[in-house]
Symmetry: C2
Subunit: 216 residues, 2 copies
């Protein structure tokens, strides 16, 4: 609020770590860079703030560009000041999307694609660190919030929910304890419908009582 240095300001970019669960694995959306530096390397989607735009607006815009989604869990993660070596500021966000409704942008130059977080290609800048940070934050939030609502369709079985948790935490969970805990948290309610997909016993379907982030 004082000091007159640096009147020209800084480049401010927004990065978005977009996560989903697919085929039992936690995956992150990456694009191929079309500009130097790190041209043709994989990186997190992001871009500079446009004039008059807030950080949240820029993150929402980026997410929409890449997935066509706007109404999902999206949270500020951390602000980095040295990712590209010099000067620019990068504000990282992380978002959780249901792969079933995310439609990847097909702008050919960007080549967006999903990668399992435990099997990433070489990344531009220090993007591994950013993804790692997002992952730890997500794991911490699973325990005391309903963030997973954003990774699943509106109706889902408890087994599906459990598989989602297991993908994120990277370890198996006990079925009975899981159900007991989720039900006692009172964050889901049965829909009365059952899922007949598969060649197995139909499962009771549930929905989240709140389809927005709730912290306990």
């Amino acid at each position: 609020m004082k000091a007159a240095a640096d009147p020209a300001g800084r480049q401010v970019a927004v990065l978005v770590v977009i996560l989903t669960v697919n085929e039992g694995r936690l995956q992150v959306l990456l694009i191929r860079r079309s500009a130097e530096p790190f041209k043709d390397a994989w990186s997190l989607p992001g871009g500079l703030l446009t004039p008059g735009e807030s950080l949240q607006e820029a993150a929402v815009r980026k997410l929409d560009d890449e997935t066509g989604l706007t109404d999902v869990f999206l949270e500020q993660l951390y602000t980095f000041s040295d990712l590209d070596g010099r000067g620019s500021i990068a504000v990282a966000y992380f978002a959780l999307v249901d792969i079933g409704v995310a439609h990847l942008s097909r702008r050919r130059e960007w080549l967006p694609a999903w990668f399992p977080v435990d099997d990433l290609p070489a990344l531009a800048f220090d993007n591994e660190g950013v993804i790692d940070y997002a992952l730890r934050r997500l794991q911490a939030k699973l325990d005391y919030s309903n963030v997973a609502y954003s990774l699943l369709p509106e109706e889902f079985s408890l087994s599906q929910l459990q598989r989602t948790y297991e993908a994120i935490l990277g370890r198996a969970l006990d079925k009975r304890n899981f159900r007991k805990r989720i039900l006692s948290l009172d964050i889901v309610e049965p829909t009365g419908r059952v899922a007949s997909e598969g060649r197995h016993r139909p499962a009771q379907l549930y929905r989240f009582r709140e389809r927005k982030a709730v912290v306990f």
Copy 2:
């Protein structure tokens, strides 16, 4: 990482919420603004990034300017993009200091002073919101980290530590349970010395095993 808009960049400022515990109350350091807008209003210390400086460096510099301290708990809090109405980006940090060793800057124009967080004057911009955010984060961290190390002198009694916790949480704690919990966390160790200050029974002194932030 793409898009060429806004080549001039943005003003990037750092804000520091400097907290201490004094006289049983959690207090925050405020300065009086010497420039418009909000000239003469109280506000959080902060300033623009200088060229070539990282965010962390700027926060450390600001903290040093105000308190003469550098080796304390300091953590990034959140990045705001609309605090001053338009355009500029403010990266907020929060710091915890021992009031016994913090020496307030005496540059007359700034008038730094401590205010209890539950009795703040009118503040510039949306600084109340920033302080509130810092307070909630601090309360959450108390439970699963040793952040309080930064609020106390090197040696302290468990009663002192408890008073510090109570000031932050804003409620009384049970003495026996508090001691049991702290000791079982294994974050402090007895120094063997006792404090003879006061006109009371001397207290066993402890120190933190780690004088840096440890998260569990």
